[in-house]
Point group: C2
Chain length 578, copies 2
């Protein structure tokens, strides 16, 4: 992983690849890499769909090694959705494969001369850029099947659906899973639109003939990996809850706590929660011959995913995540798991962020385009996006645009990006992360539901007014570091729960890199990533005024607990005051 692949899509004579040594970016992976390249090389005021934006795809620091859980990949650019810097990450196979091929990043640059669509093949022999207009407007599923016929099934694939080709701001980039299905997505921030603007439909990766990346200190690495895996197995969430019920175990938890945003953030309790809960989902999957416990990439030991079959027992989609079940379910008043699974399938096929789509549809429901609870109408609305009708393009540009076009006041976005499945009035710390993250409203940026931070040796006093501030600060910092390693975010449950577990993680990093990093060094990496990102956003015109929640969260109490978001603006401005 010592080289960069740059592809200038606007080069004279057609797209041209350049492979160069990693240079100044050595030692960076994942989000640290994407945010370093974007903040250094992309003019902050450029148009996100223009020649000056770059799409950076970078495996994590540990990706391609035998480290468990190291299969996350980061995608960075100036976001068409937020107008700020973006790092969106995904699971699936490509992180490991790209890393084994030796690329620390693939950078798509420039602007195509015409609307020719390209596929890019990367293997041990090099890089081929092939014009292929027969791929135009294919859904991700058909696309991957076509690619498979051409290149066999030992490959993996990074691709966009029609949404990316149409340059919609909710367009995702799909990464194939172990079954070579396009089910893992860099969903947030419209990265798919940037790939579409570069004229690239698919990047096909084949690591035949390549080896796993070797640790600098194999013994230390092996020992640390063993301890790390055991810690994950022992932890009740990563060892039991997530494998058994997946992320969707949260539906019941959040509903019970009264923080499950329902009907476009009108209440925190959803009547139909039990019908769409992780428990019901797992039982349904089992009954239909699906899979309840499944990894999204090789080397995953948590295996929070699964496979969702339709009523006839045929594959429909991967197990919809909590965020998807919430966005298309509770937030739209829909309690039909089959409809939600169909929406998940359509989103994956068209290449759309499920969070942004669910929120946009809920806003459209508030505008009167459909009734809350009408699953059929919701499916038709997503189909409009696939067809590229004006209505579909509105929705496919996300909740903020949908709210603007239909004159809706209550639109749950920060920096133009939809809020995920935790009402900030119920979980104030999550509201702090939504407000202040460089990414726009994003739960993964600092998942402030975790309240035990012993692993970091830091004790938060939740009774203190700045409790949520400190919590969000630490989590955002730690997450920025974690997102750079290629590790799945869910290891947080284990490594932040016990000091020794955090040390196993640090040992794993040190064993692989040969460095002697401390806990503080890891946090410093997170700080430097966030500083890069905040600097970019400032140059793009963001100020503290953009680190705010929409006013209705301060004004409208959330039933059943009737709380509002009470963190003060001055407090929000202290989040990055390390």
């Amino acid at each position: 992983m010592d080289k960069l692949l740059r592809i200038d899509m606007g080069a004279e004579g057609g797209p041209a690849a350049t492979i160069s040594p990693i240079g100044d970016y050595a030692g960076l992976g994942g989000r640290a890499m994407t945010s370093a390249i974007v903040s250094k090389e992309v003019p902050p005021l450029c148009h996100p769909l223009g020649a000056d934006n770059k799409l950076v795809i970078a495996p994590g620091l540990l990706s391609g090694s035998l480290a468990a859980m190291s299969g996350r990949i980061s995608v960075g650019c100036k976001s068409p959705l937020t107008g700020g810097i973006k790092e969106s990450n995904a699971g699936g196979q490509p992180a490991q494969v790209l890393a084994r091929l030796g690329y620390a990043a693939v950078v798509l640059e420039g602007k195509p001369k015409d609307d020719t669509l390209y596929k890019i093949m990367i293997n041990k022999d090099g890089v081929k850029i092939i014009a292929d207009n027969s791929l135009k407007m294919l859904g991700n599923y058909d696309l991957v099947n076509k690619i498979k016929k051409e290149f066999g099934d030992k490959i993996c694939c990074i691709s966009i659906g029609p949404a990316g080709e149409m340059k919609l701001s909710a367009a995702s980039i799909a990464f194939t899973d172990m079954e070579l299905r396009p089910t893992r997505h860099a969903g947030r921030g419209g990265t798919g639109a940037v790939m579409g603007a570069k004229g690239v439909k698919a990047i096909v990766l084949d690591d035949a003939g390549m080896q796993n990346r070797s640790p600098k200190d194999p013994e230390k690495f092996k020992e640390a990996n063993k301890n790390f895996v055991q810690a994950l197995k022992k932890n009740p969430i990563t060892g039991k809850g997530l494998p058994a019920l997946g992320t969707n175990s949260l539906i019941n938890v959040m509903n019970e706590s009264g923080g499950l945003p329902t009907n476009n953030f009108k209440t925190g309790k959803f009547e139909g929660a039990s019908k769409i809960s992780g428990e019901t989902q797992a039982a349904t999957e089992s009954a239909r011959g699906g899979v309840v416990t499944h990894g999204c990439h090789r080397g995953c030991v948590i295996r929070c995913s699964g496979i969702f079959n339709d009523k006839d027992g045929n594959y429909l989609t991967k197990q919809p995540e909590y965020e998807t079940v919430w966005a298309h379910g509770a937030n739209c008043g829909i309690d039909d798991l089959d409809a939600i699974a169909m929406l998940d399938r359509l989103d994956d096929d068209f290449g759309l962020d499920t969070i942004e789509m669910g929120t946009a549809i809920a806003v459209a429901m508030d505008a009167g385009l459909a009734k809350f609870g009408d699953a059929k109408a919701a499916i038709n609305l997503v189909k409009e996006v696939g067809k590229g009708t004006p209505l579909g393009r509105i929705l496919g540009n996300g909740a903020a645009v949908t709210g603007k076009v239909f004159g809706v006041e209550r639109v749950p976005v920060v920096k133009g990006q939809s809020m995920p499945a935790y009402d900030p009035r119920a979980i104030q710390g999550m509201g702090v992360t939504y407000a202040t993250s460089t990414m726009g409203a994003d739960h993964t940026a600092g998942h402030a539901r975790i309240t035990n931070l012993l692993g970091l040796g830091i004790k938060i006093d939740y009774q203190k007014p700045d409790g949520p501030i400190e919590l969000s600060r630490i989590l955002q910092t730690a997450t920025a570091a974690l997102d750079s390693t290629g590790m799945c975010l869910f290891i947080n449950y284990a490594i932040l729960s016990k000091p020794e577990n955090f040390q196993f993680f640090v040992d794993l990093l040190n064993g692989f890199t040969g460095l002697e990093m401390t806990r503080d060094d890891v946090l410093d990496l997170g700080k430097s990533v966030l500083k890069n990102e905040r600097e970019f956003n400032e140059k793009a015109g963001f100020t503290s005024k953009h680190d705010r929640l929409p006013e209705f969260f301060k004004k409208e109490p959330l039933p059943p607990h009737n709380t509002t978001f009470i963190v003060k603006d001055e407090e929000l401005d202290q989040v990055f005051n390390w």
Copy 2:
């Protein structure tokens, strides 16, 4: 004009009017009034369509008096289009009538409890707020006819069309002219959407029984007014050009100079210019029994307007302005005056900003929705807005939203507002105004085509690099003052051309108010207005990064002269460095 009328549309028990003394706002009129109230009373981060925004309608300082040209009215709010402060102004009768009724401002506040639509009647006896859902979705023409039947023809009317009711960001507010037609619009920035969000369809004004406002020093006032009128008559532009050809005399001038933006700002010359020029328009109007020289309000001595009849000699619309003829004409490649007049009529009827609509359609043409030059398609697109289809709502939210939804990179907006009819690559000073105005791209904010500023006793060195900066600074400052007096912007041609003319204007102000203002006092008023506005925008999240033109103006040379916008960012940041 010593009282304020506040109407709380969200009051318990239904909308409630309060009449109060002018208090702290004494001495302010027009833009100074609207921007003072908005910057003091509206939370900068509020939702433009929410309860906390206010719609302020204020006649100018001299309105309602016998001062010539004093019939302009200002509308202020937080703009749904730009997200910043907005002052949009219009001609027509209401400024004079509202001022004679004694109101320095009407302020619509709060949020209606339901979607009931209201009309408001204001006369010498007071204020009546009447629910009237029969007015829903009426075009401005039908609305005014209905109002006329109810209240007679001695009234005047401020109203919104369907666009305002749908809360579209390009929605205007219509002000009736001398013929009681809804042809004069506060077009820019979506003020109509805010009126719609307040649930107010029409404000009917009747000044029966009221007197003209009296000057403090009648002799001085009368003498100054006489001199002022003579200065206007003697000036070649205000005395001859504008009366003869209207604002549309600029089509030929701008086309000759190569600065007439054509086909969505792709070139500065339009082949069909002569077919839509002011000369052709005036000849067409004459031939069809229309009117070539006509004032938009009583007391106008320039009379740059006119009446445009259709081929059968029947009234179609008022004489379309230069900006309209350009936006719906050259910028969409359309050279058909009748089609342009029809588009003007539709915009006026639906209540839409012609500049924003023409620019949005040109962007849609770039997206492939219609061909440049296709007048029929353009008419159909505007009709979509009237129908409120998804496509219509996209276009009705302006060029920025249209570009976003259809993935178009070349979108000529600043702060979300469309550029008017002067390409900034051809007229750099205009580009400076577009970039830095508190209003978003706005030619009236500092009409930097005027190069002779003798009236202000200031000499610009156009050879110096900061020539356009200084020009824009002075013009923006003077305009902010002028917009506060109720005076028509076009008096600038005369008062800025000779020092004595400027003095006549100052004398007129002093004669009316009894004050002893100097030239510098007038400019200080302008500065204070701009400071209020910039402070609001800063609190709403605007920075110097928003005082920039879209990047394509710096990169793409404009044929035929192949110039780019060359003013540097550092120079732009000096505009308000008085």
